[in-house]
């Protein structure tokens, strides 16, 4: 699954650690999601969408 997490994070000048702190997850989690190695659960995807004030579909796409 692809995602725009890195772009959204960069727009706000947040580091991975900043985002991890806001999401209350580890930095390793943010990195794994960003690099597409780990697909977050639906609750975490919703938290991401709320944090970036957008929809889940605007962050994640199922395109290869």
């Amino acid at each position: 699954m692809n995602n725009r997490l890195r772009v959204l994070r960069a727009e706000r000048a947040w580091s991975q650690a900043d985002l991890a702190e806001r999401l209350e997850v580890s930095r390793q989690s943010v990195n794994a999601i960003e690099t597409g190695k780990y697909d977050p659960s639906l609750p975490l995807a919703f938290r991401l969408a709320r944090l970036f004030e957008t929809t889940i579909e605007a962050i994640f796409t199922d395109e290869k």
Partner: protein, 134 residues
Amino acid sequence: MEREIEDSALSRYKKRMFILVVVLALLSQLVFWEFIRHHPTGVLAYLLAVLPALPFIGIMATYALYIAELRDELVRTVVKTSLLWSIVATLSATTLWGFLELLANAPHLQPLLVLPIFGIFLGIATALVNRRYE
């Protein structure tokens, strides 16, 4: 924050483990001493013999609690996947060894060794699964 997230479940796990290891050491000493000095038999022997197993059961339950208390879903995924692979490895190894014992006269493997073997596989699996998400 990251450290807090990772450490809260882990620190509780370590505290429980420390207590259980102390209990295990004391109980083992006590039971072995009892068997050496008084040679208990019958029901009493059975009851005393299972006592050192209880902290081991506690250690396994502590690990289950650790997984349940983990807040970071990636860490939980790593732990669960590692557990699955270590179960597969342990069951495969003990099944293989069972046939070696049965058919090829290999030395007997004490069932007590299964838990440490599982622990070794768990350590290896955790390192390998962690690498996938780095």
